[in-house]
Amino acid sequence: MIITILRKELRVLFTSPLAWILLTLIQLVLTWIFLGLLDAFLQIQSQLLQIANPPGITEIIVTPVFSMAAIVLLMVTPLLSMRLLAEEQRNHTLTLLVSAPISMTDIVIGKFLSLIVFFFIIITLIILLGISLLLGGTLDFGLLLSSAIGLFLVAACFSALGLYISSLTGQPVIAAISAFGVSLGMWIIDLAANETNRWLHSISLLKHFERFNQGLIDTFSIAYFILFTTAFLVLTIRRLDGERLHG
């Protein structure tokens, strides 16, 4: 039943121009950054050769693209997640799903997975961008993989958060703005964590991603991402069930 919801969401997503515009824009921005970094690398290449243990192209070009991608996803997710539940509530179509023999959990997971599939496409494109460097050099595939896994987990967190906020209102625009506000808040926590104490480091989502971006797959960070995602999915399910109980 999850598949039924997933298929429907993907169909709705890709028949609207929004998904295609976002895919294009994200790819455009990231490729531009990628080429800028490539240019910078070519300029300092001769100096790098004089260092005993120089950083490779993966560290100089690929990982900065991934950390930029995290910020881009932070801004894009609210646009994709806003309609998932808010629109169903506004158009009264949620009744169709609730009256069908399907559980709230299936509905929520199906919708969540539709976002995951979309981000999977984006991340694959970013990986391909990195792999194109093989034309003129070698890559550190371990670092590339850990960055990709990190970005995937970050995308999952943003999706779950966006989905929950979308369940709180019947207005997609309000859902988008609220989700955007919360995401900005997380970005600010990340900036604040640069100077101050350790506990901000522990709760900052982007700081956890930074470790993946350095090639460090930390179980604490994995646990953080999984807990974050699960917590917001459970909250969404509870919210929809609550609607039925308190209506």
């Binding site: 009264h92 009744t95 559980s103 039925r244």
Partner: protein
Amino acid sequence: MTTITLSAQNLCRNYGSHAAVREISLQLRRGEVLGLLGPNGAGKTTTMRMLTGNLAPSSGSIEICGVDLLDKPQEAKAHLGFLPEIPPLYQDMTVDEYLLFAARLHRVNKQAMPTVLNNVKQRCGLEDHGKYLIVTLSKGFQQRVGIAQAIIHNPDVVILDEPTVGLDPNQIREIRKLIRELGASSSVILSTHILSEVENVCDRVQILHKGCVMLDETLAGLQQRGTCLEDVFTQLTHNDGLGSLI
């Protein structure tokens, strides 16, 4: 033919301190069409939302084909088809896409899918509209798509909330014919404001007022007693705010 498909006992629903539905009991046999009548705010929609699992009752129990709706919601909902007051349509899907989605949601067998789709389109007069986007259809056709969605999986119990609102007289006649057809094989509950509709298609009528059942009677019984439905309705429901003004 006398198996009971839906039975609800002592349903209550409160919104805060306001009791929208008080101690309503319903029983429906296979092949029976039940009309729910009542003035605005009588609790018709609330009752229907409870019967379809969209709203949890404050107290009471609901059984559909012998399965408890609150204990095993998924199993019970498989026997249900529901058309809410506002049809739950995805505006940017085509009629075919939408009906196939509804069929998949209700676990219709994959091989049977094309037959089921053609069948339901034929029953609801949508044969020529499969490729149209729902948003481009007129209100009447949207209502038909809503009904098609509710009956696509051949449910044992069909619940229709004001199915003929916004239709022209020809369409109303067709929909009534469809409801009578449905009543032959399944049980149907329909809510309406229109008294003649009840007299036309229903076997039994319940009149709700302020959340309570005021009358539960077969239409044959009413006819036998020689009473007119309209008189009964005004008698039972006239003592609300507006009625006392007249």
